[in-house]
Symmetry: C2
Subunit: 336 residues, 2 copies
Amino acid sequence: HMYMPVSYGDPVKEYERLINGVAMWDVAVERQVQLTGPDAAALAQILTTRDLTGMKIGQGKYAPLCDHAGTLINDPVLLKLAENLFWFSIADSDILLWAKAICAERVFDVAISEPDVSPLAIQGPKARAVAGNLFGGWVNDLKYFAFREAVLEGIPLVVARSGWSKQGGFELYLRDGTKGAALWNLVKEAGRAYDIGPGAPNYVERVESGLLSFGADTDETTNPFEVGLAKQVQLDQDADFIGKAALIRIVRDGIKRRRVGLLIDGTRLTPNQHPAEILVENRCVGRMSACCYSPRRAKNIGIALIEEKWASGTTGLYVNLDGKMRSLEVTPLPFC
Amino acid sequence: HMYMPVSYGDPVKEYERLINGVAMWDVAVERQVQLTGPDAAALAQILTTRDLTGMKIGQGKYAPLCDHAGTLINDPVLLKLAENLFWFSIADSDILLWAKAICAERVFDVAISEPDVSPLAIQGPKARAVAGNLFGGWVNDLKYFAFREAVLEGIPLVVARSGWSKQGGFELYLRDGTKGAALWNLVKEAGRAYDIGPGAPNYVERVESGLLSFGADTDETTNPFEVGLAKQVQLDQDADFIGKAALIRIVRDGIKRRRVGLLIDGTRLTPNQHPAEILVENRCVGRMSACCYSPRRAKNIGIALIEEKWASGTTGLYVNLDGKMRSLEVTPLPFC
C-alpha cells in the first residue's frame, strides 16, 4: 500500500549506472513485518520453508513463505536483529495479516507490527566504494545478506549487504521515516565522485539476472520448486513449517512447471511486463511474465513459467506480441 | 493492489451529480474474497463480528472483521450467493491471506479466492430511475444491501442495492472483466436522460455523511466500538468469532476513544485527508482523519477519533492546519 518511484526519466542511463557505476533507490516500499517476543524465532520458523537452525544475529536469509497448500505467498529476506526480534522484508503481497493470523491461531507469544523502517538501496559495482565512504571499511566485510546496526550522522540504520539486483550493493534500512531526505542527501553526497544517480529496481537488469519477481513471475498456484527455490525449501528439517506436508506431496507427484529464460526472435523489443501466453501449435503451454531487449546479451529475452515438458524446448514455441508471432527458444536463467 | 480512478477532472460537478442527480463509479478496486465449500458459512461466521444466523441467499450485510485482539481489520459487505458461497466485498486491506490462514489453521473445508468480479456503482437520487431503465422494476424493490443475479445483454452481474454513499443507489458486480467497457457504456446510455456522469466515492459527501473510511478513520488499534460499529458486533451470539473474547474485555474496560464529527472554525477549507492532531492545551487528544468545506452545511467539517473524555467537547479543542490554529467543536455524525 505504498508507491515506489520507478524511474527518474532516463531508463537507459539508470540501467547503465546500475551495470557500470552506482545507483541509489528509494525502496521504502519494501516494508518489514516485525516479529518480537519470546516465540518470535519459533513463529519465523513456522512461517518460512527455510531451515533457520543456527541462524545468528546479524544474518539475513532469503526465506520464502508458502501457504498450507504449498503455494508461494511471498519471498522475503529474513533479518535476525536479536534473539527475539526478526524482520521479514517482504515482496509485493501483504504478509502482516497472514503472520498475525498464524500467530494468534497457534497462540504464539509474539507482537507483530509494521515498524517505521524504509530501505534505501545502493546498487552497482561502485556501491562498495560509496558505502565504504559512508560507513568505513567494515561495511565491505559484510557477507551477502549480513547486516549491522549503525548510526550515520544521527540517523538510525540497519546496513545490509543486499538488494534487488545482481550488481552487488547495500540496503540501508532507515529506522526513522522523518530522516529520509537527510539520508538521501548524505548518500547522494558520498556518491558524487562516483556519479551516483537515482533509479529503482531495474526491469532490464532483473530480467537479464533472472531475479524472481513475486506476483509477476508467479500466479495463484505457483510453488517454490517451479520458480527455482528448491534450495530454500528444506523438507528434511525438523520444523513442521506451513506448507511442508503439501510440498512433500508436490515433490512426490513431480513438478509440473518450470521458470525459464526465453530467447525471443524478431526485431528489438521494448520492455513489456504484460503477461503473454506461450504457444505450441496454438495450445497455451505457459506464460511469459516479462520481456525486453538485453543490451548485454544483444538479444530479446524473457522470463516464463512453462510446462515441464517444454522447459527445454528449442523449436515449436511461439509468443504473440502485439499481434505478431515470434518464435522462442528456452534457455536457463540467468542470462547474464 | 489495484488503482481506482478518483476523479474525472471536475470535483464540484461530481459532487453535485451525486447529491442531486446520478453518478457512475468504476469501483473495481472493491475486490471480493470468495468463500466456497461445505464450511463456507461456518468460516464466514468465524471471520465476522456480525451474527449471521438466519442470513438468506440474496442478502447482504455490513460485516466487520476483527483480529484476535479485537482490532478492526476490515469493514466489508458480506453477500450470501448460495448456501455454500459467500463474498466479502472488502475495504482497503488485504483479507485474502487472512481468510486463507484462518481457514487452513482451523481445517475448514472452504476454497478461498479472489474471483473475476469488479463492481460498478450507480449512486445518487436518480440512480433508481437509471437502474429501473436497465433492469426493470424489480431492482427498485430490493431492500438495502439485498441483491439478485442478473444478465444484462449477455453480461453476467450481481445487482445489489448498496454503494459507498448515503445518496442511494446500486452496485453492479461485473462477473466478467472482459466486459467492463460494454457495461460502462450500457450504464452511460441508460443514464443519458438523467445527465449521468463519471465519478468516484466522493470525499466531501463521505465526510458529510459520516461514512467510515477504513484505514483513514482507523489506526492499528481501533476497535469497532470506537467507530460506531457496536450494532455490528453481536457479543451475545453463540458463535465464537475471532476477536470475541478481546471485544468482551474491551467493553468491560470501557471504550477509550470515539469517532466524532468536528465543526472547524475559520476560512473555507479545501478537502484534506492528511491526518492532523486534535489538541487541548497542546496535548494531543485525538486525530482528525478528514476535513473539508461542506456545501450542504455551509461549514468546515471534519471526522476524528478522539479520547472519550473530549468526545462532547465544545471548547478548548484545536487543530493546526497549514500552520494556523483553528478551534473545533465536536458534533455527532453524520453532518447531513
